[in-house]
Amino acid sequence: MARQVFAYIIHKDGIADDTALEMIAAAGKIDPDASVTAVVAGAGSELASVCNEVASSFAEVWKIDNQALAYVNAEMLRPMLVRILPERGIVLIPHDHFGMDLAPGLSIKLDAAYLPDAVDFEGIDEGKLKAVREEHTGQVSTHVLSDISEGAVITIRPGSFKAEESKSSEGNVVDKTAEAMEGGLLGGARRFLEIVEAEVGDVDITKSDILVSVGRGIEDEDNMEIVFDLAEAMGGDVSCSRPIVDAKWLEKSRQVGTSGQTVKPKVYMALGISGAFQHVGSLKGSPFVIAINKNPRAPIFQVADVGIVDDILDFIPELTDRINDLKSA
């Protein structure tokens, strides 16, 4: 019998996330013969339209429809999944803020192996799956071997598996709600209250053509001035990576990354930014990326078009002066 792989589908406003198709590609890399079932949870008409959408690329779609999942709370969903998933199944979940909330506990409840944040697979040998992960903020990679013979929960890094052109399929939508609800609703010890929307900042970096983006390499709040000076000389806006917002040196609305903004400038200057996937994954529209970092091993150099290995504290003021000279010449 073909190996059963389940892909948990993240969706919003009735539309499946890009990771839905990426998980089909990931499942194919785990086992080309796997049968892949989409699992979609939610409520009402939004859920119905997601199920229709994914049925065109998955052979089978399992639906859990309950008003309590109108906003999906991982704590409530987890016991439902435990009820419907078969023993020894392989469950794929995107490694995003939702997957990170759901998946580790799910692996315990299913008594399955847990393989977090996989970026590639290199086949199964005697029930053991060989996968690639990253450690130390992407500076090194590792091969891991995971014993999936008794089932596994695997989180997939968004963007790591190239979504296949959807092989058109007319998938069956199977309503699993009754089975998922058998024994009642659990997970009530964590109750959803509301979404607090991000504050709107003074600059909308999602609209900027030129972004001068600063990271941990700036070292001190007092040094931020040189970044603003460079941005002014170039006619761009200042954005940043996460540590700058954590340190409260810039407002959250200027952060590029999965927990911040997705940007699509023409030119992106990454200053002292290491280039964690949460950051570079939010650069869209193929900007021309210039990275300046004193660590030649920084992952940002893998995604940049042009790199300069130098201390930004020395380099930026000189660059700013030269651009200003050029403009006044």
Binding site: P104, I108, H143, F192, Q261, K266
Partner: protein, 263 residues
């Protein structure tokens, strides 16, 4: 409120270039600067602030060898009341589930209302908090960037989600939360603070003290094992500009002009 914070000693990636050793069995550990995992540091600060507001105590715990004692002591200098080291040869090679199993045994020796972990550590897995909660059958929230104690039965938490938005939940105690960076501004720990706690004895618990079967943890209990470290060959990467600073700037300005990087 009795709070337990799980912490880990890790290479400080902001201070180090991480290199793979010759045979790929490990990273080069000579000359690495170690520190407390950044996420854990925010978790300890949060625990201290909660204790200072509502009373109780903060215990820091780490699974590791005797070198992990230095980060326990640092967090005690920061303000944690107690430290516990969970150390045993049998713990070596534990995967996330193994670590959660060890921590669960320690949790059950105490009477905790709240357990904090960092959202992730050096291996980027982000797994131990969620696993520990599931083993304890306690509620859990990950990527927490806001905590407000409502009363001695429940707390309000914010989770960081996409686009700078935040999910708010009310959670019953006891619970497990994994803490995201930026939730607070961790206080500075000076040499004097560390000296003050230098002579405090830190208890060490092993399999016997914790009642753990050695084969359930460590390498034998691990379903997911690291085989090797390597540096991936990813495409060509950036064209690295070389020469004197002036020459580099000349080349860079040509690129900027061509690509619309100077307005």
């Amino acid at each position: 409120m009795e709070i337990l914070v799980c912490i880990k000693r890790v290479p400080d990636t902001s201070e180090n270039e991480i290199e793979v050793n010759r045979d790929g069995t490990d990273i080069e550990r000579d000359d690495l600067v170690y520190s407390v995992n950044e996420w854990d540091n925010y978790a300890v600060e949060e625990a201290i602030q909660i204790r200072d507001k509502v009373g109780g105590s903060v215990t820091v715990v780490s699974v590791g060898d005797e070198e992990a004692e230095e980060v326990l002591r640092r967090q005690m200098a920061m303000g944690a009341d107690k430290g516990v080291l969970l150390s045993d040869d049998a713990f070596e090679g534990s995967d996330g589930k193994g670590l959660a199993t060890i921590l669960k045994a320690e949790v059950e020796k105490g009477n905790y209302d709240l357990i904090l972990t960092g959202a992730q550590a050096d291996d980027g897995a982000g797994q131990v908090g969620g696993m520990l909660a599931a083993m304890l059958d306690w509620p859990c929230a990950s990527l927490v960037n806001f905590i407000e104690v409502v009363d001695d039965k429940k707390i309000k938490v914010g989770r960081e989600i996409a686009g700078g938005n935040q999910e708010m939940y009310e959670v019953d105690l006891p619970c497990v939360l994994s803490i995201q960076t930026g939730i607070n501004e961790p206080r500075y720990v000076g040499i004097r603070g560390i000296r003050k706690v230098a002579s405090i004895k830190i208890p060490v618990h092993g399999t016997g003290d914790l009642g753990i079967a050695p084969e359930a943890v460590g390498e034998p209990g691990a379903k997911t094992k690291r085989l090797d470290y390597f540096v991936p060959e990813l495409g060509e990467g950036a064209e690295i500009l070389e020469g004197s600073t002036d020459e580099i700037i000349d080349k860079l300005i040509e690129f900027l002009k061509a690509k619309g990087g100077i307005k």
